[in-house]
């Protein structure tokens, strides 16, 4: 063990010193606040040890919003640095670190938890189940994700951030060219979070296959459930590749092997191949559930059944299949030759077909619908034109020969922001506005929501539209500055102004969350949007057992059907039976902590300490093996009381449907 204590804390940079102080103060503030309010026990019992899918989902969403903030600050810093030519705000190294963490955090620690969080909250409710198939595993998934995210986030104050880009291409990311420990954080934090994601994938596949309520055949599942199911399949098919790639990276960096190195026979481009074999499917892992959310929102606020349900299902399956066959388009310039590049060009362009099918399905769902312009619907409406710009530029990039021109320019950066922000971020916002009443029993304010919407959408277009043109003019990505002679200055400045507007939009969301938590009307019906799927058939927020009596499904949009035919909406006392529920467990959070500790030691290459911490992981596994806690039964009286409470209030609840 050669401990380099002088590398431990990053010193000398006022920005980072400020962050260190802020982190310290925040932590003291949280601990002091919880202690002062005497909430430790409550926090432990109700949240930290919970196995309830709704609470795990909320914790995912909360972490996702926090990480979105962190990633957003990174983005703003980059925009500040490039706002004028030859800016001296960040140096090259600091800029490298910031674009790296921005990418990693936005994809893996913001988009993923926001989507997985909404999946957690909504899917068991949509399929009429009482929890996921493996509730404790679900908690473990969350804590591993959280542990990975925290480990990654401390990198910039302890030891130094990774700085080789979110794709961490070799040989740059190897020990030869990046000797610091920053990239160890990348390899290990993502590994820990990735294990959690893989388990989530398995969990949701089993949940959706096995726990659907009576009558819900596969082709009656809500579209969000379908897309999440397919996304889970892609998770299981692609995350192990990332696991291996990261493990090999760890071996190369910490144990001196030669997988991706220049010396010893290693092959640097193998990293790029493995990374994108996971990385491209990952794009669809985040975008498919988002498509599902848009489907729910568009159908609800058009007051129509989703158009072309079957073609929607076939197109997501098609997208999932094709997503595995396009990875080379990320490095056409590798020089695999025109034959190989042509194949991957064609597979890439083929993805536009099922995606186009989905676009038309959404448009036809709206056709002749009675469209209600709620905030959630606005996000879905803005998504369509913005995403098409992202998609069409994607087809441009898919042409292997032309890609030599676009490769590594800001054109590409603008393209994937036009895909991921409308495709994922807009969807998450739509989903939050739509399901917020289900999660918390009160709505997000629609007026502030619209401010949020307009600022964010205009800011987004203003930020990234100029980057298409900058890219076509030859501005490269990941470059910390540019000369005045290049003529890029006006467009870069416009882009920075856009980023500020976008940030104000996000601020409006944060304020909306605060405002609504304090002042929003609590007396709302359990179905404020007059919605169509089963999650709205129970109370808002749902009781911990979800449904007193599991609903029976007779068609697509089953709750709509129940309302139209007035069946299955009431509950008779004699229908209530005891419900079996899983018990809370402290083991998942223990595993998260111990994984974090082991990971931290490994980042610093303190191998013996890491090995000792690994024993802690094994102990956790052993405890789990001998754990025979079977859960508990909820008594009929308790269910009766809970159900009476919300069903009676509901009669006088305010509906928000015009």
């Amino acid at each position: 063990m050669n401990i380099n204590w002088h590398d431990f804390f990053i010193v000398g940079n006022p920005l980072i010193l400020g962050s260190q102080i802020a982190i310290l103060l925040t932590m003291i503030g949280i601990v002091a606040g919880v202690t002062y309010l005497k909430k430790w026990k409550w926090l432990w019992r109700e949240w930290l040890t919970t196995v309830d899918h709704k609470r795990i989902g909320i914790m995912y969403i909360l972490s996702g919003v926090l990480m979105f903030f962190r990633g957003g600050v990174d983005g703003l810093l980059m925009k500040a640095q490039t706002s004028r030519p030859e800016m001296k705000f960040l140096d090259a190294q600091h800029y490298n670190e910031i674009f790296t963490t921005h990418g990693v955090i936005m994809i893996l620690f913001a988009a993923m938890p926001l989507l997985i969080g909404l999946m957690n909250v909504v899917i068991p409710l949509q399929i009429g189940a009482r929890d996921v198939a493996f509730p404790q595993l679900n908690a473990l998934s969350f804590w591993l994700f959280f542990s990975g995210a925290m480990l990654f986030n401390i990198s910039f104050v302890v030891g130094g951030s990774p700085d080789a880009g979110w794709t961490a291409y070799f040989p740059l990311a190897g020990k030869e060219f990046t000797p610091g420990i920053g990239n160890n954080y990348y390899a290990i934090a993502l590994q820990i979070a990735g294990i959690g994601t893989l388990m989530t994938g398995i969990n949701f596949i089993v949940t959706i296959l096995k726990m659907r309520t009576k009558g819900m055949t596969l082709m009656r599942m809500p579209m969000f459930t379908w897309t999440s199911f397919i996304a889970s399949v892609i998770i299981v098919a692609s995350f192990p590749i990332f696991t291996v790639a990261l493990a090999l990276m760890t071996f190369d960096r910490i144990f001196g092997t030669h997988f991706f190195t220049l010396a010893g026979g290693g092959m640097d481009m193998m990293w790029a191949n493995l990374f994108w074999l996971w990385g491209h499917p990952e794009v669809y892992i985040v975008v498919l559930p988002a498509f599902g959310m848009f489907s729910e929102v568009i159908s609800t606020f058009s007051r129509k059944m989703l158009f072309g349900y079957k073609s929607m299902v076939f197109s997501i399956v098609g997208i999932a299949f094709l997503s595995m066959l396009v990875w080379v388009h990320h490095f056409f310039t590798m020089g695999a030759g025109p034959g190989v590049n042509s194949v991957f060009s064609i597979t890439t362009m083929m993805i536009a077909i099922p995606t186009g099918v989905k676009m038309f399905n959404w448009l036809f769902t709206m056709r002749k619908g009675r469209i209600e312009f709620s905030t959630a619907m606005l996000w879905a409406l803005a998504f369509i034109p913005c995403f098409i710009i992202g998609g069409v530029t994607g087809v441009m990039l898919a042409m292997g020969a032309a890609d030599y021109q676009y490769h590594n320019t800001l054109f590409l950066v603008a393209h994937f922001h036009y895909v991921l922000i409308p495709g994922v971020v807009f969807a998450v916002f739509a989903g939050l506005y739509y399901w917020w009443p289900k999660m918390f029993g009160h709505m997000l304010n629609e007026k502030i929501g619209k401010i949020h919407f307009w600022f964010f959408t205009i800011g987004f277009n203003l930020t990234f539209m100029p980057m298409f043109f900058l890219g076509l003019d030859g501005a490269v990505r990941r470059s910390y500055t540019y000369s005045a002679e290049s003529g890029y200055a006006p467009l870069f400045l416009l882009s920075t102004i856009g980023a500020v507007i976008l940030a104000i939009g996000f601020g409006a969301l944060c304020y909306n969350i605060y405002w609504s938590a304090r002042y929003a009307d609590r007396n709302i019906s359990n179905d404020p949007w007059d919605a169509r799927t089963l999650e709205w058939a129970t109370a808002s927020p749902p009781p911990f057992y979800n449904f007193a009596k599991l609903p029976e499904v007779k068609s697509v949009d089953s709750f709509w059907y129940m309302k139209k035919n007035n069946e299955g909406l009431t509950l008779k006392d004699e229908e209530i039976e005891e419900i079996h529920m899983p018990s809370n467990s402290g083991l998942p959070i223990y595993m998260g902590v111990i994984f974090g500790i082991a990971g931290f030691f490994l980042v610093f290459e303190w191998k013996i300490a890491a090995l000792v911490a690994t024993v802690g992981i094994l102990i956790g596994l052993i405890i789990r093996s001998f754990d025979y806690n079977d859960g508990f039964h909820v008594h009929v009286d308790e269910i009766k009381e809970t159900e009476k409470a919300w069903r009676n209030v509901d009669k006088g609840g305010n509906s928000h449907v015009s």
């Binding site: 189940a129 009482r130 929890d131 198939a133 493996f134 893989l198 994938g201 398995i202 969990n203 596949i205 089993v206 296959l209 096995k210 726990m211 299981v236 098919a237 692609s238 995350f239 192990p240 590749i241 696991t243 291996v244 790639a245 493990a247 090999l248 071996f251 144990f255 001196g256 092997t257 030669h258 997988f259 010396a263 010893g264 026979g265 290693g266 092959m267 193998m270 493995l274 074999l277 079996h580 529920m581 899983p582 094994l618 596994l621 052993i622 093996s625 001998f626 025979y628 859960g631």
Partner: protein
């Protein structure tokens, strides 16, 4: 969640939770196939990059590898016998074959570690060349899986001793059986593509 027990089915399939666990494990094995598939792909890319270090022909001793193979294949057979005894509700038969399986597995791990030590003494380490890096990581991952399996199965044996054959212990045993056969299949690929193919080529 619901405890609707169907006693017509084998013990391990009787409760809904058990059926979900078994399906979940099959899906996990699917992920494991991708994991090992990736490692095999990496090995096939790097397998001829010796960087001046030893080649397969210099290193591999077919006799030792053959013994390892026979140990592991036999253990898969005895594991099948263990599950067969479990289906007959014969606890002692199950335990007997289960323990024999683990002893064979331990023999395999012992042989593999000896093999690795031997290579290292000949100067063939993970750091020597890309070929050896991929060789050690692929085989090490498999060996680690077998070792973890032995530890895991030992805990299940303790639970069977304490609780007898219940739907829960039967399900745990069955799942380990799946895992064990899977590792055996992986070894067949290692034996073929890592050892035999490289010794002929």
């Amino acid at each position: 969640m619901s405890a609707n027990v169907n006693t017509a089915l084998p013990l391990e399939y009787q409760t809904e939770q058990n059926r979900m666990n078994i399906l979940g494990f099959w899906i996990f094995l699917g992920a494991e196939i991708i994991l090992f598939g990736t490692l095999f792909a990496v090995f096939s890319v790097l397998s001829a990059r010796y960087a001046g270090g030893p080649t397969p022909k210099d290193l591999f001793e077919i006799k030792d590898v053959m013994v390892e193979t026979i140990l592991l294949l036999t253990s898969s057979f005895t594991c099948g016998l263990a599950i067969y005894e479990m289906r007959r509700h014969n606890r002692n038969g199950l335990l007997l074959w289960f323990i024999i399986t683990l002893l064979l597995g331990a023999g395999f791990v012992f042989m593999e570690i000896t093999e690795f030590i031997h290579y290292v003494h000949e100067g063939a380490t993970m750091q020597t060349s890309a070929f050896l890096s991929s060789f050690f990581v692929l085989l090490g991952t498999h060996g680690l899986h077998v070792s973890m399996g032995i530890g895991w199965a030992t805990m299940v044996i303790i639970q069977i001793l304490k609780r007898g054959l219940t739907p829960v212990t039967a399900r745990k045993t069955f799942i380990i059986g799946l895992y064990w056969h899977f590792l055996d299949v992986v070894w067949i690929f290692i034996f073929t593509f890592v050892y035999l193919a490289r010794m002929v080529a």
